[in-house]
Chain length 207, copies 6
């Protein structure tokens, strides 16, 4: 678990759009205390750009890829992360018009019956052919993200080893300690983001 | 968001059949105050021609395309617009007989059980083959609209920049100010529409 | 709407098996006052022959085709007509054994659960392959009807123009006025129909 | 309707396994008074052989084919007959193992939930490929029956004309009158059937 | 029916793993009094080997094949037998891992919602391709069994004729009489079965 | 049953990641007393590695393969084992990202409606094409496991014979007796596992 958590944290510090890591811990339930705000619901109230979504997916895959890189052996622990990354990829392709191949057409419906679970038939009104195209796009988005995270953690294998060892010893590692290991300075207090997000309210860093 | 809203407004002033823009604002919930009446339900009580439907779709895509044109980066903010544009394209193809390829046959049913949500199986009674044809038509209608809006906003890139800047400064821009930027005079009070709509009640401009 | 209604009426007077037109009106709800009894439920209590069904479909498509012929622009107003024509074509193919290609086999079930809406899965017990054949037949039946109505209204373009103009002026046109425009005498009082319907009760002309 | 009923009756007298015709009538609801016991439920309490099933199907198609043979025009009146013939063909293929191509495997389930309508998904547990094979077999069985009935009524076209005329005049024709027209003697009182049915209780002729 | 029942009984005495026939009767409801225990539920409480399952299927098909062999005419009477044989073949292929082609993977789920009938969608979570493979295997298993029973009854055609005649005369034939006809001695009282079933409780012969 | 249970036990002692066998018994319900903790729910609270999952699958298939190896005859007794092994293979492929071919994308959803059984449509939102790929992967994973267990029990055929004989005689065999037969020493008390599981709580051996 130490490597798994270290993987999440290192990726979070390596991509552009993730919130800074506050604390890493392997004390049970500690996973929720990661700097990266895993509690944030997938249906964001705020706008997110395609780059931000891709960075979040990378952080989610970080835990699993750390296991691959270090042990060549993988565990069931990443199930929830993989599911959330898949859901994000699906939304990019079917709701946000972020796949060039599928275009601006949406393939999911917003309106849901209030009192009926969505497992009651996913209300699929497109053809099998389109469904297969959607599957291919989702697989491609996730696989590209997978390769990107392998590159990130492959280059930072030393840090990953050191951080995991530290975590096994101390059970809790502060974000600043970790950034020191990576040769990064601590983050400045959050500034107003630039560019397309110029008129968005700033995102709250995790507690 | 300033660019997104400016995109909607500029397209609305550039196509033939959209209502004139009354006011643009980026004050939260401001989107509903756009001249273009986004509140109008998709099931119109009045007749609409194919050209009117295509113009409405163009206004809907205007926000997303503005992001593409200016930032080369896209956000999740257009989700609802894309969904509504997709729904319009689907209705044109499956309910209004407006696709030459599919012909006058309808593929959706009007009658819906009152007390059961439509996610309970979309009551699809046509084949997979037809479903794939329908998907292709919808994709084509939306993609043609996408290209049309790219042309409109590509030609008006300067106005888009100026308008968005103005909107960031002042938060609200009146329709007349905007038309001045575009070198257009203000609209005459609504006259009785000519041609095929000759015997339709006039559409109410948004408040 | 004047052209749309005129289209329905002219086709009704041009085919063999439609009831004579009593009155045409563009006063709202006027559509129900057409000589052709649009209120008659699709599940007729009386037998209808294949020719009668095809004539009814032609009257239904008359409104939409009038728009095509006169304006080259089409509206959403024909949605309900298209849906009913599609339903008739579907019944001919799947319930009445009127398609040579599909033969005498039926593909719809009469018995429906009383308390469950038919959207709960259309109880389709045939294969995708058969569903695609059915779709093709329905499309063909509707398209042939479309072409037939285009020929009828193309030949009567003058009458269509005159009748619509008259309707815009006077809002109501009597069946006899209309038949005069078409150079037809008024219909004799309904006689017992000949041929295959010899032992059917006579159909009631609309009020 | 006179021709339709005459068609049923003539086929019933022409095949080996149908009950003798008691009376034909075109007085409304008269159809239930035909010698052929149309009231008998499809789920027979007694065994039926394949030949008996095929003869029943022929009687069902008799009405529709009479219209084809005499008028070359067909009506919606055969809908219920076609449906029942289709149901019989389906049972032969999917429940009784009477199709050589499909073999002895059954494709329908006997056990049905008591309180849920069978339209709730036909509980199909076989593949699309098998469903297409089943459709082909059913179409073939019905089409062969169609051709057989055309031959029967084609050869008896004179009787069909005479009988229908008589029926239009008198509204009721007794079975014996009809058999006289066909040059047949009246049936002997029912004897114990021979052959495979040797140990079956005799079928009750319709009242 | 005499031939049908004789077919069941002769096959039961000809295969290795069926219980000895106690009594055959054609008195109504007599079918339940056959030596072969048809009441035994398909979901056995005890283990059954593949050979035992195949022998049971053979007994089930015995009635139908007797009709084929003797009359060349088949009846609806075997419907229930065919259904049960199909169910057994399906279980062998999808639940017991007894098809080499499908392997040890199972394709049916044990856990069923308590209060919902299984017709509510068979909860099929495999692909169409796999469904087609399963159908082929089931057809093959049943067809091989069909051929096997044809061979058995073809060789014992004389006994089948004699036994059915006896049954028509006397309505009841004891198992020992029947075995005498077949040139077999009566069965010894049940001994502990040998081999793989060594530790199973002995099966109860039917009363 | 003696061979079936011996198969489970020998495989459990032959793979790396299974808990040591405590006791084997063929007294009814004895199966639950095997050292291998069959009661442990499939949704583990603890992480499991891919190797551990594969070893568990091997133990599950051990009973069935013992029948194959010794008798060349198979029984229905393995139904539950096969089902559980299939479920594990399915989870590996669709939830844990453990198939290289399918990648890190997940194809099952965690969230289930509380009050609706999962048979209500498996909420499949992927295409038929992907479903076929998933089926192939599951078949491959199970078949590889099958071959592995055949190798294990083929090499230990002597032990399997001896152990089953012992079990038939004594009805209960202790884990230590069995390990002595296999020439293995008894297991040391459980130590902290090494490697990827370093920070997991130790698994409880079955009582």
């Amino acid at each position: 678990m130490a490597f798994h958590e270290s993987g999440h944290a290192i990726v979070a510090e390596s991509v552009e759009h993730a919130d800074p890591v506050h604390k890493i811990t392997i004390i049970p339930r500690g996973i929720a205390a990661l700097g990266y705000t895993q509690q944030q619901p997938t249906e964001d109230r705020y706008l997110m750009t395609k780059s931000e979504l891709l960075d979040r997916m990378a952080v989610l895959l970080g835990g699993r890829v750390a296991e691959e890189v270090i042990f060549g052996e993988i565990s069931t622990g990443a199930q929830n992360d993989l599911q959330r990354a898949t859901d994000m990829a699906r939304s990019m392709v079917t709701e946000y018009g972020m796949s060039e191949r599928l275009g601006l057409v949406t393939y999911e419906r917003e309106r849901r019956p209030m009192f009926l679970p969505d497992s009651l038939g996913p209300s699929k009104i497109y053809s099998e052919e389109k469904a297969a195209e959607i599957d291919e796009e989702i697989s491609m988005v996730v696989e590209e993200c997978h390769q990107r995270v392998r590159r990130i953690l492959g280059e930072k294998r030393e840090v990953l080893n050191t951080l995991a060892k530290l975590l096994l010893e101390k059970e809790v590692v502060q974000g600043d300690e970790m950034r020191a290991l990576m040769g990064k300075s601590s983050p400045a207090p959050p500034a107003l983001p630039a560019g397309p997000k110029a008129d968005l309210p700033p995102q709250q860093p995790a507690a």
